[in-house]
Amino acid sequence: MTLLRRVGRLLLATLREIGDENAYRRHLAAHGRQHSGPEWRRFSEERFRAKYARAKCC
């Protein structure tokens, strides 16, 4: 059961990493800011600019 819970947590964390939610948390922590709509927009614009300047794999 503990193993299953660990696997579940890991899976969720992976999905959060792929979905940039972890990166957003790091961004808030690094800048000491609170979550808000404008803050997410600021973060996502910077994130997407870097992310979609790189080639996607075939």
Binding site: T14, R16, E17, I18, E21, N22, S44, R47, C57, C58
Partner: protein, 679 residues
């Protein structure tokens, strides 16, 4: 305990050898797909444990005491130490595109054996090594890109050529994956409606994420997924509607134009509105479907219907012409060796590795996982009856324009199929016809639907077929919109030196003009594929495979140079052997594609044949021009890579003689202070 370990690893290695032997040697009876699964899985596990760790320990001398760029340059954005399993998932999601799914399906025309052996052996000794060494090199160089490493290790020429090569490959890639979508959706009201519905779904997700529930990516993607599932059911109703079905039943040309317009809009529109939400959704769906397919194969354990070898190893195949060597090895690039991976391995991933030894599962292990996806695609293609497989994948220009003629031709090849069987199958999956659906996506969807429907899930094969088509088209369109955008950035970067106004990223006219230029480039090849009487895949997929593996050649040149500087000639065979193989394969294939006297293989012979027919119409003139253009693109790519090869050999000889700079350009050693709880 040690003895138990030896016994366990001996058993895994013996299972790998036994199953590979079985797959290679069993003749005259259908083999179960579990043979392929076990052969691949046990080979990967053994290779990971012994070869991967050998390269890590002896060659790279990975050291967990050494701080990685993620720790030294930590900034909360790009550089961030990340848990190795999370990074493994992230890296795998980034490298696994449509390539490992489509390539094996097309290569199945030779039978299951050549492709399977190439996928397994190519990944273990070539693809995974390339990804791993480039990841290691970038990690030791503050996360530098492949282009920058090529410039530093080989010379300025290498760096520039790498950039131009990537841009050309992008153009070919976008055209060929666009063609795969066109061929999957032409004449299909159900499929076209489902994919069209993903656009408003993506825009809804974009608005949801930006204004209504900012930052809730997983929640938003879950809603998007249910809406996309609903669109599959909606598509069935649309296909059955006398009024709506004609609106969504589109020709190949109409679909191609639609995709070109979509690519332009997605490149010019704000990213948050369409591209980013679609990317999130397609990545999650992709991972989910790959996992479902693995479970489905294990539950159903289908028998392979295609033989180990078909008569088409002699080069007369209907899907693409050319002998098993070299064409099997360029048709399957992703899944065995893919140059594109070197861009990912020198992109985000090296900036997120917390400990050096994490590079083994992330770099070597991820590629083995992608290779396993390719094996599953091969199984999905090979569970189809051979007659059905060839009826779906062969162009009308080769098998005959009517169902009866096509069925007769394919039956004469020794793969019995009837027009009635195909008509019934088309009805079962809600399509008007499944003949001449080249590109690999429809046959992969049929194979996947067969597996999913056999799991006892209760859903009918029609649902699963369109679910699989939706899955393939969704992430192919994500590649088209993201790729067009990246191509635009590259073009603006290049143009900024000659026409500075066009290089301004924030200037709307510059964005519109450069987006149009990139879209026009890949759109031209896409239209060329649609007009090609042989289906387009015959010429475009080999071109894509050659260019992708030429990029792998560049990456392996960089890797070989680095290993030479680190150890002299001692371990250079690790990257040099796959490089030699790739050079042989790509240059043979490239040469044949340009100069083969057979019109089905050689572009120039094809142009000459058309010209010799006389009284050429405008359409024929276009076909002649296109064949010569394909030859020119192939030639340019070969010359570019040959230049890097020659430059590399010059550097290698200098290093071995002691006349060239053999300085290893790694970042200085800094002791890691990362705590266990931070991982």
């Amino acid at each position: 305990m040690k003895l138990l370990g030896y016994l366990l690893w001996g058993a895994i290695a013996a299972t790998a050898a036994f199953c590979l032997g079985g797959v290679a040697l069993i003749r005259g009876e259908h083999i179960n797909s579990i043979w392929l699964v076990l052969a691949a899985a046990c080979t990967y596990i053994t290779a990971y444990r012994f070869y991967g760790r050998f390269v890590a320990a002896r060659v790279m001398a990975l050291d967990d005491r050494r701080a990685t760029p993620a720790e030294r340059l930590r900034n909360g954005h790009d550089f961030e130490p990340t848990n190795k399993w999370i990074l493994l998932g992230h890296h795998f999601a980034a490298i696994a595109g449509p390539g490992p799914l489509v390539g094996p399906v097309l290569a199945a025309q030779f039978g299951y054996l050549p492709g399977t052996l190439w996928i397994v052996i190519g990944a273990v000794l070539g693809g995974a090594v390339q990804d791993f060494v480039i990841l290691f090199a970038s990690m030791r160089r503050d996360g530098k890109s492949l282009g920058k490493m090529a410039r530093e290790e080989i010379g300025k020429v290498g760096g520039f050529i790498a950039l131009v090569t990537v841009l050309i490959i992008m153009v070919i890639l976008l055209a060929v994956v666009g063609l795969v979508v066109v061929n999957a959706l032409k004449g299909s009201a159900w499929g076209t409606f489902t994919i069209a519905a993903t656009m408003p779904v993506a825009i809804f997700m974009g608005l949801y994420l930006r204004y209504w529930r900012p930052g809730k990516v997983l929640e938003c993607s879950a809603i998007g997924f249910f809406l996309v599932l609903a669109s599959i059911f909606g598509g069935r109703s649309v296909a059955a509607s006398a009024n709506l079905a004609p609106i969504f039943t589109l020709s190949a040309m109409a679909l191609a134009i639609g995709i070109i317009i979509y690519g332009f809009l997605a490149s010019a529109l704000p990213v948050w509105l369409l591209l980013a939400p679609r990317d999130y959704l397609s990545t999650f769906v992709k991972l989910g479907v790959v996992f479902m397919l693995a479970i489905g194969i294990l539950i159903v354990r289908p028998e392979l219907q295609l033989p180990p070898f078909t008569r088409f190893v002699d080069g007369t195949g209907p899907i693409f012409a050319g002998k098993v060597f070299p064409f099997c090895f360029i048709t399957i690039a992703c899944g065995a060796v893919s140059g594109f991976h070197s861009l990912i391995s020198s992109g985000t991933t090296p900036k997120m590795i917390a400990k050096e030894w994490h590079a083994v599962p992330v770099g070597y292990g991820s590629m083995l996982m992608e290779s396993f996806v390719a094996i599953m695609a091969m199984i999905a293609a090979c569970v189809l009856q051979p007659g059905v497989y060839f009826a779906v994948n062969s162009p009308a220009g080769i098998v005959g324009a009517t169902p009866a003629a096509a069925a007769a031709t394919i039956t004469n090849w020794g793969f019995p199929v009837t027009a009635d069987t195909m008509a019934q199958l088309a009805t079962d999956v809600g399509e008007k016809s499944l003949f001449f659906r080249t590109g690999g996506a429809p046959s992969l969807a049929l194979g996947m639907a067969h597996i999913f429907a056999s799991t006892g899930s209760g859903a009918v094969i029609g649902f699963w077929y369109h679910f699989a088509i939706m899955f393939e088209a969704l992430f192919i369109l994500t590649i088209i919109d993201a790729g067009t955008r990246v191509g635009r950035f590259m073009l603006q970067d290049l143009l900024s030196h000659v026409a500075p106004p066009l290089g301004r990223m924030t200037s709307m006219p510059a964005v519109v003009v450069t987006s149009a230029m990139v879209v026009a480039a890949w759109g031209y090849f896409l239209i060329q594929g649609v007009r090609d009487p042989l289906g387009g895949i015959n010429s475009l997929w080999p071109l894509f495979g050659i260019s992708n593996q030429l990029l792998a050649g560049i990456a392996l040149c960089v890797a070989t140079t680095i290993l030479l500087k680190m150890h002299g000639a001692k371990y250079v065979w690790i990257t040099f052997a796959p490089l030699v193989w790739l050079v042989m394969v790509t240059f043979t294939a490239g040469w044949q594609k340009i100069f083969s006297p057979l019109p089905a293989v050689g572009f120039l012979a094809q142009a000459d044949k058309l010209a010799a027919a006389g009284a050429a119409s405008a359409a024929t003139q276009t076909l002649i021009f296109n064949a010569r253009l394909d030859a020119a693109v192939c030639g340019v790519l070969m010359v570019l890579v040959a230049a890097i090869l020659i430059d590399s050999v010059r550097v290698w000889v200098g290093i071995l003689r002691g006349t060239s700079d053999a300085h290893v350009r790694e970042a200085p050693f800094v002791i890691s202070r990362l705590q266990a709880e931070e991982l």
